[in-house]
Symmetry: C3
Subunit: 246 residues, 3 copies
Amino acid sequence: MTIIHPTAIVSKHAKIATNVSIGPYTVINANVEIGSNSIIGAFCEIGILNDLSKENRLTIGANSNIRSHSILYSGSNFGDRLETGHHVTLRENITTGSNLRVGSYSDLQGDMEIGNYVRIHSNVHLCKFTKIGNYVFIYQFSITTSDFTPPSETIHPCVINDFAIISVSSVILPGVNIGKHALVGANSTVTKDVEEYALVFGSPARKIKDVREIRLHSESKEIAYPWNLHFRRGFPQEVIENWNQN
Amino acid sequence: MTIIHPTAIVSKHAKIATNVSIGPYTVINANVEIGSNSIIGAFCEIGILNDLSKENRLTIGANSNIRSHSILYSGSNFGDRLETGHHVTLRENITTGSNLRVGSYSDLQGDMEIGNYVRIHSNVHLCKFTKIGNYVFIYQFSITTSDFTPPSETIHPCVINDFAIISVSSVILPGVNIGKHALVGANSTVTKDVEEYALVFGSPARKIKDVREIRLHSESKEIAYPWNLHFRRGFPQEVIENWNQN
Amino acid sequence: MTIIHPTAIVSKHAKIATNVSIGPYTVINANVEIGSNSIIGAFCEIGILNDLSKENRLTIGANSNIRSHSILYSGSNFGDRLETGHHVTLRENITTGSNLRVGSYSDLQGDMEIGNYVRIHSNVHLCKFTKIGNYVFIYQFSITTSDFTPPSETIHPCVINDFAIISVSSVILPGVNIGKHALVGANSTVTKDVEEYALVFGSPARKIKDVREIRLHSESKEIAYPWNLHFRRGFPQEVIENWNQN
C-alpha cells in the first residue's frame, strides 16, 4: 500500500507505483515516475524542472530509497534500487544502471552516464559529462573536473572505468581516464591517465605499484585487489565469481 | 504578480517586491527585503537573526534566485541578480555587488565584502573577513582561512583580487593576497602571496608560469588567459571589451 | 515554557523537557529525549530509526542548539550543550561528553565516542569508529578514514587525542593515532602516528617542528601552543589553568 504523508505535496499527475512511502513535507512534481516499494524521505524536492533537462520526465526505479532533504531534477533516469543519503543533489540528464548508491551531500551535476552497482560515498562532486562504468567506488570529498583552463567552454570529461576505486579527497583532472581496477590514493591530484590495476598517489599522482601486490591489513594477509575477490557487501554473486572476466 | 506558496511562512513585515515567487515551506522573517522578479525556492530560511548581525535587515536585490534548502542570515546586503544553488548558507554581514553566484552547499561565514560578477562554485567555504574583488572564480572544495595558529584570536584574512581564479580543492592560508588574474591550480596549498598573472600549483604552491603563456585545450589553441578574452557566459559586454584596463 | 511551532510534527511519546523551542516543519520521533532550555531549528529530522542503532533512544542534553536542516539518528547520546550548525548529519551510536560543537554540513558516521569540549568545524567527515578525546579541534573539509584497502571489511579506526588540532582539508589515514597537543597542517595526508606536541605537514605528512616553538602571529609574539594558554572562547576556566596537567 502506498503511504503519502498528509503534509507531502504530490502532484496528481505523478506516477507513483504500489507500496511507495513518501515522507513529511516532501514535494513531488507532475513529471515524476517512482517504481514500486520505494521510500522517499522528508523535505525532498523531486522532479525540479530545468531549462537544461533534455526531457521533462524523472524516473526512479523500483526498490529505491531517497533519504531526507534530497533534490532530484527532471530529465534523469535511475535504475532500480537507487539509494541516496541525505542532502543529495542529482541534476538533470543522468542515466544510471541499477543499484547506484550516492552518499549524503553528494552532488552529481548532470549529463552523465553511470553503470551498475556504483558506490558514490558522501561529499563527492561529479562534474557534468563524467562517465562512470560498473562497480566503481568513489570516496568522500573526491571530485572530477572537465575544464583545463577554467573558466572556458572547452570541456574534456573524465572516464572512470569498471572496478576502479577513487579514495578520499582526490581530484581527477580534465580528460583523465582511470583504468579498470585502478586505485587512486588519498588526497591525490590525478593529472594523466591511470593504467589498469595501477595504484597511484600524490600531487601530481605517480604510479606506486600494481594493486595486485597489495594485501589486506588483516591477519589473513589475503590479496586485497581485485576487491571483488573478498568484498561482498551488497554485491551480487556473479561479481564475486566472475571478476577475472571483467 | 507575487506568488507565495500557501505553506510558506512569510512575516507580514517582510518587504516583498512585485513579481516574486516563494516556494513551499519556506520561512521568511520580518526583517527581510526581497527585490522584484526574484524566486525563493522551497525549504529556505531567510533572515535568521543572530547576535553577530550588525543590523537586523537582510536585503536581497532584484532578479535573484535562491534555490531550495538555502539559509540566509540577517545583516547582509546582496546586490541584484544574486543566484544560489541548493543547501547554501550565507551568514551575517555580507555585502556584495551584483550578479554573485554561489553554488550548492557553499558556506560564506559572514563579515565579508564581495565585488561584482563573482562566481563561487559549490562546496566552497569562505571564512569570516575574506575579501573578494570583481569577476573572481572560486571552484569546488576550495577554502580560505584566517588563523595561522588555530585556535587563536589573531585573524589575518585573505584577499582575492579581480579576475583571480582558485581552482578545485585548494587551501588559501591566512593573510595571503591572490593577485589579479592569478590562477591557483587544483589541490594546492597557498602559503604566500601570489603575484598578478601567476599560475601556482602544489603544497606549498609554487609559481609554474605566467598565465598568459597558457593556451586553450582546443583546436583553436587560443590564448586562455585573461579568460575574459574568450569566456562570455553571463558576463556583460564591457568585461570582454575592457579586460586590459583591469 | 516549551514552544513547539504549530507546523512541527512532534510525537506525543517524545520526552521534551521544559523551556525547549522547536522550529517550523521539524519532525521529532517518539524515541527522542531533549533536555531543558534547548533549541531545535526548522526542517530538522530528529530520531531517525535505523537497523544499525544499538538502541532506539536518542538523547540530547540540556541547553543544546540544533540548527536548521539537521538530521540526528537514534541510538546516540549527546551530553549537555550540544551545538550544531545547519545541515548537519549525526548518525547512530554516537556517545559524547558535554559542549560538543559540530559545524554546518558535517557528517559523523556513527559508532563513535567523543569527549568533552570538542570543536568539529563545518564540512568535516568522521568515519565510523573514530575515537576523539577532549578539547580536540577539527577544521573544515578534514576527514578520518578506517579502511587501508577500500573497499574491505578490515577496519582500523583513527584515534585523535586530547587537545590535538587537525587543520583544514586534511586526511587522516586508517589506524593513525594523533598524539596529545599535536597539530596537523593544512591539506596534509597523515599516513602514520603523530607524536605528542608535533606539528606535521604534507602528503605524506612529516614532522616540521615541536608546536611549542610556534609563536602567535600577533604583536605579542606569545607562545601559540598549547593553545589553552591563551585561547578561552567558550572554554571553562579549568582548561586554561590546568593545561599542563593534561
